[in-house]
Amino acid sequence: MLRRCGRLLLLMTACSAAPVAGQAAPRRLVIAIGQTVTNVVPTLSRSAAAREISDLVFLRLGRYGGTSFGDRAAVPELAKGWTRRDSVTLAFDLDPRARWHDGTPVTSRDVVFSFNRARDPKQAVSVASLLVDIAAVEAEGDNRVVIRFDRPYGEQLYDATYHVQILPAHLVASIPPDSLVSSAFSRAPVGSGPYRWDKLEPTEYLQLRSVPGFFLGAPAIEQMVWRFTTSQESRLNLLLTGGADVQEDIIPPTANLSRLPERPSLRVAHLPSMGVNYLLFNQRAPADTSRPHPILADMDVRRALTIGLDRATMAKAVFGRYASPASSPAPPAAWFGALAPQPVAFDPTQAARLLASRGWKDSDGDGVLDRNGIPLALTLLVPSSSVSRMQVALVVQEQWRQLGVKAEVVPLEIAQYLARRKPGDFDVAIESFTADPSPWSLLDRWGCGAEANYGRYCSRTADSLLRAAHLARRDPAPPIRAWLRTVAEDFPAAFLFAPDKVYAMPSGYGNVTWQVESPWQMVWTWTLAGAGR
């Protein structure tokens, strides 16, 4: 146990909190969330919430081990261990105790089936592209699976474990992939994890029940319930009036924290998130992406727009003390977050000087800088559903105004936001991106011509550094550090901060451990007795 704790990304806030007298920790945990979840089958679930729930029902060969590099990238889960045969082959030995919730043993057939399904782009849109380096997955008897890779690289074990949850072949193989979504299996999925599917009351709540004979140890919390409530203040009111026990985003606004004493059994738990908030600069003209952006293609302008923002005050105003500064695409909570450079300082004078040096002057005295008759005016896209990003947008608008930059805030429903972002129809967009714990996954956002590189940033130097890191077989840190510095200095975005995940939850649980990339994953190890007992 200790050995495992050491390798997890843990935040032991609970250990310091003494249990409140007379308040037993509930055996049933009701979590209020903003999304509605209808499906937790791994290849079908799209939302972050669905994936978090799915992680309790469906296991992987191994759980994320706190790094994406080397052969320590995973902790045993369905596989009780693995051996490296050569630089391109890993053999996994399944835990013979592992059972599906219907009692059938988990076998190598299930694993082969799940990998084949995940690698088929027709069936698993989002995962298949991440598994292109896997050459073959084969069973050796009932309990051993051998995975062969195309070439030697550092993230083999991570790729073989992080992306694929194992499905029961005996139940799923007979269902055509197209009808899986409407099948009886997806209405009542069967997994091998610590919690099994109990019931879904559509649009109201989803309930899981603990598996008493779970082969890694019986969960103490018997029921996990996710209650769907779209608006944030309704979630808080539910929490305070006893309709829910946990809320995952009690801030912003930080004023909410002052309400928690209304229910004395509540405490705050926070863990760093894998999300980074940034203002993405579009480097191509919104109307015609073959041409450079008339304003933002200039690196000095992007730099001025970044250092002209008081990011620290902004973070404090919106998130209180629950945010850390960010300087690059790397989330501070990720293992490679420590390799990122220091954020550039807030310096409005320097920002003004930079803009002036690039010819932006207020020649007509209207308070907005201009050059050759073109005003320094930008559209600022923001998803209206996000309370924090809306606030940030208005603060950015005001701070840029003081620089002489006019920003028009355009709040959009999420679907429209995505529809505008995809073809590059914007100047600046307020993004909040939650990364996978692998630096390689960031190529999709920041690599030249990458699918999700909406700002069309392109640096061949940066790309080759990241590729070097991916292929590194020893220490990937130097190329990653160089990559992060290169990206940070090109200002493809104004990196603002990384907000924490802030939970309000009942006190009294012992052994509270959070898994940063999927917070509830270890909830089955929590105990009902408080710390110290």
């Binding site: 009111n237 004023a255 902004m314 404090k316 105003a317 606030q391 208005l394 005001e398 709040p411 429209q416």
Partner: protein, 280 residues
Amino acid sequence: MTPRRAALHTVWRRPAGRAGLIALALLALLALIGPLVLPDPTAQGDLLNGALLPPGPGHLLGTDQLSRDVLSRIVTGLRLSLIIGLASACLAVALGAAVGLIAGSRAGMVDTVLMRIVDALLAIPRLFVLLLVLAVWDRVPIPALVLLLALTGWYGTSRLVRAETVRLRGEDFVRAAEALGAGRLRIALHHLLPNVAAPILVAGTLGVGDVILLEAGLTYLGLGIRPPTPSLGGMVLDSRSVFVTAPWTSIFPGLVIVLTVLSVNLVGDALRDALDPRSA
């Protein structure tokens, strides 16, 4: 006495109508003068120490999350609400009256087709169309919002005006005008319109209140007036997350909506009662 003065007079004679008129005048005055003397409603003060201040001497109605003055925002929002309400109710009534007059004064095909279209339009809930159009329109300019509210609000008036027109066509004075060889347009404008003016006025006045409420609701859903333009519905939306810890940010804008719509409706009701004494 001109018809307009007569209408004002009848409203003034009723206590409820008088209260409505006075309140409305005060609100309009506030909306006119307020922005001249109050701080900039979009200016943010000290973000760390000036946010969510309770009502007090510096800020009569407190400040919001971005340390903006709540009173300034209410006054600016009120002005916008009044403008949108008046403009789109006027437009709607004009459109409805035009369609109603045309349908009513030209029996036969034109009348049937127009009224069938109005039936079909009436079969689509107004809110449904507004939700639909506003949801896909990312930057709704305020004139477009006014137009949209008007375009979805004229059906009732057109039916009313048509019914009145059809009734009037049977009246002697219209027959006389026809016999004297007056053209259709002349009859419609000189004989029919003045006689349907009263119901139009009532519908228009009550329409103002409906539009103000509708606009506030749509903005509350995030679909109407977009930030940072201050609006009453938008203020309630923005302060939803602090409505318990800083209730002043949402109580006051809501109260102003109630007061405004109530006074408009009191005037409208007084007008209607004056014109249709049976219901009083």
